[in-house]
Amino acid sequence: MPPFMIIDRRTMLAGTAGALAAGIVPGALRRAVAADGEFKIGLLIPLSGPAALFGPSNQGCAELAADEVNAAGGVLGRKIKLIPTDAGAAPAEVAKSVVRLMLEEKVDLVIGSHDSAVRQAVEATVKGKGAKSFYLIGNDYVWARNSNEAAKSYISAGGGTIAGEEYVPLGAPNRFEEIVTRIKGAKPDVVLITVIGADNVNFNRAFASFGLDKDITRLAFLLEENTLQGIGAESSGNLYSCMAYFANVGSEANQKFKAAMKAKFGDKVPQLSTLGADAYAGVHCAKALVDKAGSTEAAAVAAASQGLSFATAGGTATMTGRHVDKDMYLALCKATEFEVVKTFEKIASGQSCPV
Amino acid sequence: MIPISFSNVSGGYGSLNVVQELSGEVAAGQVLCIVGRNGVGKSTLLKLLLGYLPCRSGVVTICGRKAGSMAPETRRGLGVSYCPQERPVFDDLSVADNLAVMVQDGRLAGYRHFFDLFPVLERRLAQRAGTLSGGEKKLLSFTRGLAEDQPAVVLDEPTEGVQWENIQRMADIINDRKAGGTAFIVVEQNLSFAELIADHYLIMDHGRCVLTGPHTGIGRADIVKHLTV
């Protein structure tokens, strides 16, 4: 047995589709195992550059998960040691979006959970609000386009129409006045938003300043706590977000998670969001996978992913087949807070296995 | 008080000493003509005197004040006007603006006398200075510098490209001002012009002084000998 095994990204994807995210990039699990002693997990997190905003949250949540795993005996009997590595970008690289970096890493991982979320959210708005026409606005890259492809099929299945669809470049200094004007002319019932980070803020502020927020519902698929802070109370009317985690989720598991974070960090609890929650889930997933596989051998890990259960901030997630079942939430923005209005329980990831 | 004096001045560009150990002075009402072939360091000497280049050694005194490391704009305040050889005017400005830019009220009344002597300038007041011929630029620069009416004037090749008729008028103006007590340092290639105005000569070669003295003691033959070697 070699002193360490490299778990490549694709292998891990197979096992953890939809569960892992930015916080722990599977590629960073390389060199995870020393023959004895500590079980090292590389934690690729943004510590510099604009995305560093999410670093503390990711690291804090991962540390909590590591503590919990260690208290329960560690991985294969060894204590987890997190090795944070800076995934932040060089200044020339950071041109635009604060979450761009993570999303570049995250894309493949989140698609699975997202097309399901899109379906639930779209159906909820069609039924709840009688929405007929939709306008799609996203950043021009794979996650947004895939989400929108999924959305379009659900919309047409539900008898709705697409009033417009457009994409803005990722990482460019975008302006949204022209797009908002087109939306104004198209008069859709709902705008589906898959722009991220600063673009998400800019779009929503422009949207509201043109007074469109009164008549048109907005539904965003990556709108977490800090982005909402940037959008601001005056621009967040009639705005929904659909994700697997909100800090305000009232579930027992989340209360426990938040209490544990509070106990660990006291007043210095980092802003909790879906990104940190994913880092937490990632560590637990790694433990469950490796424990079950009994080694970090790639094939064994892949095999172990079947039927695996592990802790997440939102509760226990289970992999059935190669899907992850987890709860999704639809939240309405109240000023700069999320208020969960609907819970979609045990949503199965639709992503097929890439290996 | 001596308007400009310099002793043992050395300096140049980078580590190169273009000018070496030069000394001289010009009294009120006198003209010092600096003569020499191209590239012997005449313009460099003027730049050292006016503060565009730092002196590596030696002392420059302007109107009784040691210039030390004073900036060019400060030296002008001590009482010296300068008409450079290269880029003598503001090309982007009109002829009128070139003359008016530093005049308090922006009026050209003070230039009447010059316009009478050089009517070409008055005709071209509205024209962009960059479109003037080389000689006309020199006339404009000369007019601007002389009209500042300071105790010392430094001219770097003022007659380059100027018609002989106007060169004679320039000499007349300089001689008038000499009578009024103005001191001049003039770098000149045109010996006929130099002979009209010079009181003293400083003849340079390879950055050094090879001959200096009053014009009465230095004939054209002496100068030509150094210019052609």
């Binding site: 550059g49 604009p50 560093a52 905003l53 950071v94 041109a95 635009k96 604060v98 457009e166 994409y167 803005v168 470049p169 460019a172 200094p173 975008n174 302006r175 006045e177 022209e178 797009i179 004007t181 087109r182 104004k184 002319g185 600063a198 803020v201 800019n202 502020r205 422009a206 300043s209 007074g211 800090n226 982005t227 802070q229 940037g230 959008i231 601001g232 109370a233 005056e234 | 006016l50 565009y52 900036a71 060019p72 704009e73 002008r76 305040g77 006007s81 300068y82 008409c83 450079p84 880029r87 003598p88 005017v89 503001f90 090309d91 982007d92 400005l93 603006d97 830019v101 530093m102 922006g106």
Partner: protein, 284 residues
């Protein structure tokens, strides 16, 4: 006319005028002093944070203007004296120095305010009906203010004696010094004015965007394109450059979409660098 077309025309106007406002300060320091201030965006960022501070304190938004002038002017003064002045005529050194400055200013903002997005409340919320279309009031006011500031600067530069001296100093600094112009003081003033304009632009955009330490990067890129197209050293160049870059961006964005607009702007900037490297209104 179709109200949507009017809205798009106003959008174009808004895009061009705000871009001009941001490019102006950059063009002034670049054109007048030959200093390519890579930290220009960070002065915009500081101006935006001034608006944030005023907003958080619950004070009237307009107070952000004097605060930003004070902060950006003050920082600009210190930077010119300590960093820029020793490096005049050393363009590459200036580039590196101002790049370092931009890092420092970003990190200081990060230390003071964190990396999170912040929002500044729009001072004139709501819309105004103009030619039969509703347009955000604040954006309308911004268009007017930007045009007023640029026109005033244009008029001042073109007609005042100070403008004449600046033109003389920029065109032939050695001769300007021979005439006794205080070139160092003029350079300092010019840099401070450029910094203040950036700060002012920061205050203006603060209610429209997420205020965060990296905000400046978004704006400075297009401003550089404006300089590439417009050329250096003239207000006319800035106006022409923003007209081309901002206009193309907005028009293409309105007609086709953001990706096409961004692509067009990049292609035009490259073509200018290639075929007309000195810009439409190159100096001299």
């Amino acid at each position: 006319m179709d109200p949507l077309i009017i809205t798009q025309i106003l959008n174009i106007l808004f895009g061009v005028t705000t871009l001009a406002m941001i490019a102006l300060g950059l063009a002034i320091t670049f054109g007048m002093l030959g200093v390519l201030n890579l930290a220009h965006g960070e002065f915009v960022m500081m101006g935006a944070f001034c608006a944030l501070v005023v907003d958080r304190a619950g004070a009237p938004f307009l107070l952000a203007v004097p605060l930003a002038l004070l902060v950006c002017g003050g920082v600009g003064l210190v930077v010119e004296l300590l960093l820029i002045r020793p490096l005049y005529r050393r363009p590459f050194d200036t580039l590196v120095a101002t790049w370092g400055l931009s890092l420092l200013l970003r990190k200081l903002a990060e230390a003071g305010f964190g990396l999170g997005f912040n929002s500044v409340a729009v001072p004139l919320a709501g819309t105004t009906t103009l030619f039969g279309t509703d347009y955000p009031t604040y954006r309308l006011v911004l268009i007017v203010i930007c045009i007023a500031i640029i026109a005033a600067l244009f008029a001042w530069y073109g007609t005042s004696r100070a403008g004449l001296k600046i033109k003389a100093m920029v065109g032939n600094p050695d001769l300007a010094r021979a005439l006794g112009m205080p070139v160092k003081r003029l350079a300092t003033t010019t840099f401070v004015v450029g910094s203040c304009l950036a700060g002012l632009a920061g205050v203006m955009v603060a209610p429209l965007v997420p205020v965060h330490p990296y905000l400046g990067l978004d704006y400075v890129i297009k401003s550089f394109f404006v300089l590439v197209v417009g050329g250096l050293g003239s207000v006319l160049g800035v106006v022409a450059g923003t007209g081309v870059i901002g206009g193309l961006d907005s028009v293409m964005s309105a007609l086709f979409g953001s990706t096409q607009a961004y692509f067009t702007v990049l292609v035009v900037a490259i073509l200018f660098l290639w075929l007309k490297p000195r810009g439409l209104f190159a100096h001299g």
